[in-house]
């Protein structure tokens, strides 16, 4: 899954700045961040905790506006959230009052995904099966484990065929084993359905395992401090000398 050559970048982030207002004055959180993401590329952003990673993601996904600078997706300015780019976050947002199938059908509408209920249900069930939730379509989220809940959230995103996935610490609430399993799972699905992915994480190994390119953020007010291309074939071995060398280089950037 190498970066595709494209005349136009999928996402263009130019010189984003954001302050948090307070009584004493503005606290600068993002101090001018610029980068591009190509169509089909998997870019990971790693940074120390509290450096404004999530704020940056919120701005790029359209949930917040920057104080200055701009975000352009497919050449048009980002004005707000849309199904074109779905956010997967740490704590998840699978609706607890809907079944797995109803959750997956939430983002589907008559115009795009078939006017008949059973057409949409079939589409939802297809994606439930893809993430390994076959047989759990009628279950409620509180009846599922943390890993299954995360699968449901991924499926709910994939079913609307978003061009971009914004992943904000997607697997960090899971235990270590499930975390690793979900990485592999995500890569398997991404091989089937091509998406552009922007991943925010504090986990350097997670970034090395999945991303095509890794951007390292500085402490607040955050800027992009370094960028690493990951030229390792999938499936990647984190214990390989190349991966370890990369890990150390990134950790050095993070001051460790």
């Amino acid at each position: 899954m190498s970066a595709k050559q494209a005349n136009q970048h999928k996402i263009v982030v130019s010189d984003i700045k954001k302050n948090f207002g307070s009584a004493q004055g503005a606290l600068p959180v993002i101090g001018g961040v610029s980068f591009t993401v190509d169509d089909g590329e998997f870019v990971a952003i790693v940074g120390p905790s509290g450096c404004g990673k999530s704020t940056l993601m919120n701005i790029i996904a359209g949930f917040e506006q920057p104080d200055s600078g701009s975000v352009r997706v497919d050449g048009t300015a980002q004005r707000g959230p849309s199904p074109k780019g779905i956010v997967i976050s740490q704590h998840g947002s699978v609706f607890p009052w809907l079944t797995v199938q109803q959750n997956l059908m939430f983002g589907l509408n008559d115009a795009e995904h078939g006017a008949r209920h059973d057409e949409r249900a079939a589409l939802a069930d297809h994606y439930a099966a893809m993430v390994g939730l076959k047989g759990f379509e009628a279950s409620y989220p509180h009846e599922l484990s943390g890993g299954m809940l995360k699968r449901a959230e991924l499926a709910r995103a994939f079913v609307v065929k978003p061009e971009i996935l914004y992943m904000d610490e997607p697997f960090s609430a899971l235990d270590a084993l499930m975390n690793m399993r979900m990485r592999t799972e995500l890569l398997r699905i991404l091989a089937e359905e091509r998406h552009t992915v922007l991943l925010i994480t504090h986990d350097v190994e997670e970034a090395i395992y999945m991303a095509d390119r890794i951007l390292v953020l500085s402490p607040r007010p955050t800027t992009i401090q370094a960028s690493f291309q990951v030229r390792l074939p999938h499936p990647r071995k984190l214990a390989s000398p190349e991966a370890q060398a990369l890990r150390e280089a990134i950790l050095r950037e993070l001051g460790l």
């Binding site: 949930f63 959230p81 956010v87 609706f95 607890p96 009052w97 983002g107 509408n109 509180h142």
Partner: protein
């Protein structure tokens, strides 16, 4: 939740039954020893209640009270739920109406009795009005706070999927608030039942509250007074149990399992 054996179930209900039995025995002994001419024994209460049940008046009183609660509480729900949703969703509506509701809420519904009689006279409307007043405020407050405590991640997800306002309300806001609405209903039905009995004590010709006052006035029938009190307690328990059943609905269970 676990299927319990008959033995375990017995172990659960035995202690409260023993407490009730102890109260009845003590009561009986005290009445016998004090040789009270007015205060009835448990047996007299039982026969008194049986008398009323047999001639049918008991059922008339019970259904009169339940009907008033049903109408007053139903109207309160019709007003409180939409109003609470609106106040929760629209900041301006909250700032405008919340202070007045917070001020009206602590006024005991009993304090409204003179006004109820002035406005609606002595009839069925006054107690219905009092029940409405007593249950509408807790349900408004609960619904509003339900909207305020919807987790933002769910609203964000809905915005992300680009759903219409109708879908947002129908599929996210209302189901998210439903558990709080049910809590509000439990509080509301509880106070409504308290108030109907009090309201019926004021000059009406039916209802369990009337039955209590009438039994006392018509020849100190304290056996019937106590029988009515016990019946009121049991019905209150059943009403609460009925609203509790709503908490078992699949779509609201998530709120209570964790």
């Amino acid at each position: 939740m676990n299927p319990s054996s008959p033995h375990q179930r017995l172990a659960k209900i035995l202690p409260p039954l023993l407490v009730i039995a102890a109260i009845v025995i003590v009561w009986w002994q005290v009445v016998l020893r004090s040789e009270s001419a007015i205060f009835p024994t448990p047996w007299q209460v039982l026969t008194g209640a049986w008398e009323l049940a047999e001639d049918g008046t008991l059922w008339e009183h019970i259904s009169a009270s339940l009907l008033r609660v049903g109408i007053g509480f139903g109207l309160a729900m019709l007003v409180a739920i939409p109003l609470g949703l609106w106040m929760g969703w629209v900041g301006g509506a909250y700032r405008t109406f919340n202070p007045i509701f917070q001020m009206l809420r602590p006024i005991s519904p009993i304090a409204w009795i003179p006004l109820a009689i002035l406005w609606f006279g002595v009839g069925d409307v006054s107690p219905i009005f009092l029940i409405f007043i007593s249950s509408v405020f807790p349900m408004i407050v609960q619904t509003t706070s339900g909207v305020h405590t919807i987790e933002r991640r769910y609203l964000r997800a809905a915005a992300n999927f680009g759903v219409s306002r109708t879908v947002l309300f129908r599929r996210v806001v209302i189901p998210a608030v439903l558990p709080e609405i049910i809590v509000g209903m439990r509080i509301g039905i509880g106070v409504a039942w308290l108030v109907v009995v009090a309201a019926e004590m004021i000059a009406l010709r039916s209802g369990l509250g009337y039955l209590i006052m009438d039994s006392r006035n018509a020849g100190n029938r304290y056996d019937l007074v106590i029988a009515s009190m016990i019946i009121i307690g049991v019905i209150g328990l059943l009403l609460d149990g009925a609203t509790r059943l709503l908490e078992r609905l699949k779509t609201v269970k998530w709120r209570y399992v964790r």
